[in-house]
Amino acid sequence: MASRLSFVAVEQRALPASPVTAIFAALLLSLLFALSGCIKESDITLEQRAHQLAGELMCPVCNGQTIDGSSAQIAVDMRLKVRDLLDEGSTNAEVRDYFVLRYGQDILAAPERSGFSLLAWIVPVIIVLGGIGIALLSIKSMRKSGLEAQPVGGISAVANQKQNDLSDYLAQVDRHLSVGSGIKSDEPNESGDAPASEKAKS
């Protein structure tokens, strides 16, 4: 996104490119910065891992809750099982597989990233990238059509002419603008009135 933006901007006029690039460069830099500060893997306990896994497994008897949040008996048993498996040295993937084997795919709170379920993960990427793409394209096309349609030059001459024609009304406008309270009473009385079609009685 950053490169695209700056690319187009460069095309148009050299100036705006640098700050935009700077913003995104700063964002990127700060991300790297943040990453670099945290090289050491956090020492999460087995219990934390068990909680994390519990959040990824659905409770088979509750509507749409994970076993982490449910207090149903089966959820309690499953949580214990997760912990047992971890104590035996299973990896997270092995624990997930264990439950998928017994309960089927829908025990996982998020679809797998393979086979048909991969669709679940790919479509969002397409939606997001497509959305940003459409946004940028439409800005670009709005810019183009606008540049062609824009009447350039001569505005001020016309304006001067008009200014002379309208001097009385301009004075009135300036009066409205300078007396805020005067305007207030002139505001559309949109509230409290009876509906329009009933007002216009002959």
């Binding site: 705006p16 670099s36 996982l108 709170a109 939606i127």
Partner: protein, 691 residues
């Protein structure tokens, strides 16, 4: 009373049908009296909806168990205050509530509609009447709350225990009201389009009604989250449950709308886009109603589940076809000829922000529908829940927060390089410093640290925006407070928006804190024993019974001590070796540095008739973190089994609520047409210093 209710519903049905037909025919043949009559019929539907609701509420008050709905959702033991909750506790009652809300806001908005919309009003009235007609029809013939029982039971079933916490007086009504409220801006804009009123005449009505709806829906969701956190004891506040998602989606689209409507207001652009956004929001609200009423997905919010799925699906389809047929029909007239002058302008940033909101909406919709899709396509059921949504929506939401910092600093139209550099230099510096400090402190989780940096960036950007405006006014002689007040007053929509942005930052702070840094442990305690997690020691000191005929319930009294980990070195290393985050202590002797800081009283109740447990968490909340104790169960041997967590920054989630509401009100507050004093004279001298 059941008879009165039924009669009122049937009357409402007839009135709304008459109103729709009368408005259209009256407009077509130019018969003013018929249009006026149709309008009054619409007002009368409100009266009938109020009478029907009154009849149902009265039946609850009088414990009229001959009505099935009353017998199902209350009993004589129920506190009378809960009549209001019982009113919408089930499918039929909540439909009646929705109809009540819709008819009241329809009447109000039609009454206050500006006169310049007179020519499109018949169409607006017809659309509102048709939607009411649908609800009257469903209530009268398919899901009547006034269904009578063959044999009158002596006692009702009672109210769903999950609906008895105080939050339930406002969360469901706000949420349902917000969802149905989307109808109002939709009806006004559609009416204007049908009547061929393509200009900006509908802009104020649509904007005001959209912001009100959006604020109500947002407040409803936040209250729901708060309720889940403090009451349900899920340990969380947002589960990406389908029902939550279908409320979130229209809200996201409305958020996009209330941003892009500002572009139309100021620059006359995006007219077509704004109409499309309202259409999408309306259809999504209908989708929400459909999924609420027995849609094809499983949810924890099964209060209003029913078999009305097909009807609501049909109605959603009709809405979809109508909205987009109308849109396509009138699209050529909506095109704006205003030019977008730069990628680096506020209107461009609004457009990008709009697409990001729509992207989150689209992704969420995809996640909600994927299980259905998978079922249909290959007959394998899958679940799509929080881990999925966190992963796919997290980055986009962070992108939206980034735009929140960039967009407001960009001026309209186009900008020049020097000023931009000036504007962004401080936010970027503060953001980087924040990240640097967090890294230096040894805080982990890079993604979260980066996000904190983004929050600091945005906060600085808003601060800078206020600083610049305030300073400019201060230089012209106002004192600081007055200068800031004048600044906010000068453009309330914009500065109210900033206040809402601040509330979103607070919300984001809480979300990042609780998602990335939560610590949890489980344990069971006998009286006198303690559980230690992080720097807290929780001692179970007392318990008392609060059972009633309908429930087995117990309070636990626990004292919370702040500890010095050095006192517990041995236990901590032992627990770590075992892979636990916490540990229990058998003896109640205190260590030298233990300091009593709080007493909490978690509660656990089991409702026999409903076979349902309900809890109140014990929470010690501070600005930095919450100590959060859920009593999972009181065991037979006198022990209490606990789930304990430390939720960093959770406090900020709930503080954001008042800011959200205040900001929305500031943005909505009607403003005088111009400032008191002419800015021109005042400013000439100082512009150089500013630029």
């Amino acid at each position: 009373m059941a008879d009165l209710g039924v009669m009122a519903l049937l009357l409402g049905l007839a009135l709304s049908a008459y109103s729709a037909i009368g408005a259209i025919i009256g407009e077509k043949i130019g018969m003013a009296a018929l249009v006026v009559s149709a309008r009054r019929a619409l007002y009368m539907t409100t009266v009938t909806a109020i009478v029907a609701s009154g009849a149902l509420i009265n039946a609850f008050v009088q414990n009229d168990f001959s009505i099935a709905y009353v017998a199902d959702h209350s009993n004589t033991l129920m506190d009378r205050a809960f009549v209001w909750v019982a009113f919408y506790a089930g499918n039929e009652g909540s439909l009646l509530y929705i109809l009540l809300a819709l008819s009241v806001i329809s009447a109000i908005s039609v009454w206050f509609a500006p006169k310049r919309l007179a020519r499109s009003m018949p169409w607006t009235i017809a659309i509102l009447a048709i939607i009411q007609l649908f609800y009257f029809g469903v209530l009268a013939f398919v899901a009547s709350p006034f269904e009578l029982l063959a044999t009158v039971p002596l006692e009702g079933r009672g109210i769903n225990p999950l609906l008895t916490p105080p939050g339930m007086f406002s969360h469901p009504p706000l949420l349902m009201g917000g969802l149905i409220g989307v109808t109002i801006p939709f009806a006004f804009v559609s009416g204007a389009l049908i009547a061929g009123n393509y200009g900006d005449d509908w802009i104020d009505v649509a904007r005001v009604s959209a912001i009100i709806t959006w604020g109500v829906l947002g407040t409803g969701m936040l209250l729901g989250a708060w309720w889940a956190y403090t009451i349900l004891g899920w340990g969380g506040y947002w589960a990406w449950d389908p029902i939550e998602n279908v409320a979130l989606m229209p809200w996201l689209v409305m958020t996009a709308f209330i941003h892009s409507i500002m572009v139309q207001k100021r620059r006359g652009m995006f007219r077509m886009w704004n109409v499309a956004l309202l259409n999408i929001a309306f259809v999504l609200a209908q989708l929400g109603m459909f999924i609420n009423r027995g849609g094809p997905v499983v949810s924890v919010h099964s209060f209003a589940a029913s078999t009305l799925g097909t009807i609501f699906l049909l109605f959603m389809m009709v809405s979809l076809v109508f909205a987009f047929a109308l849109f396509l029909w009138r699209m050529p007239q909506l095109k704006s000829d205003r030019a977008m002058e730069s990628f680096v302008s506020r209107e461009a940033s609004f457009l990008i922000n709009n697409f990001l909101f729509l992207a989150v909406m689209g992704v969420t919709l995809w996640g909600v529908l994927f299980p259905v899709f998978s079922d249909l396509a290959r007959d394998v059921s899958v679940s799509v829940s929080a881990p999925y949504f966190d992963r796919v929506n997290g980055p986009v939401l962070l992108g939206i927060v980034v735009m929140m910092g960039i967009g407001p600093l960009l001026p309209w139209r186009k900008t020049s390089a020097r000023s931009m550099k000036q504007w962004f230099v401080w936010p970027i510096i503060v953001g980087l410093i924040t990240i640097g400090i967090l890294v230096a402190l040894g805080i982990q989780r890079p993604v979260a640290i980066f996000s904190f940096g983004v929050l600091a960036f945005v906060a600085t950007a808003i601060g800078e925006e206020w600083w610049r405006g305030t300073a400019a006014r201060h230089r012209s002689g106002d004192n600081w407070a007055l200068a800031w007040w004048r600044l906010v007053n000068g453009n309330r929509p914009r500065h109210g928006g900033y206040i809402v942005h601040i509330s979103i930052l607070m919300l984001a702070l809480g979300i990042i804190g609780t998602n990335f840094y939560q610590q949890r442990t489980n344990g069971s305690l006998a009286l006198g024993e303690s559980l230690v997690i992080d720097s807290y020691r929780i001692e179970y000191v007392d318990t008392f019974d609060s059972s009633r005929p309908d429930r087995i319930a117990q309070w636990a009294e626990m004292t919370v001590y702040q500890i010095d980990p050095d006192d517990y070195k041995q236990e901590i290393s032992f627990a770590k070796a075992q892979g636990s985050s916490g540990f229990t202590l058998k003896d109640s002797t205190l260590r030298p540095n233990d300091e009593l800081i709080d007493t909490i009283e978690p509660w656990h109740g089991f409702y026999i008739d409903f076979n349902m447990a309900s809890v109140r968490s014990g929470i010690r909340s501070t600005v930095v973190e919450d100590l959060y104790v859920i009593p999972r169960d009181f065991l037979a041997d006198g022990r209490v089994s606990l789930a304990v967590s430390i939720n960093p920054l959770a406090w900020w989630l709930w503080v954001s609520g008042p800011f959200f509401i205040i900001g929305t009100m500031v943005a909505l507050w009607p403003q005088a047409a111009v400032e008191r004093r002419p800015a021109r004279k005042r400013l000439k001298g100082e512009s150089e210093g500013e630029l």
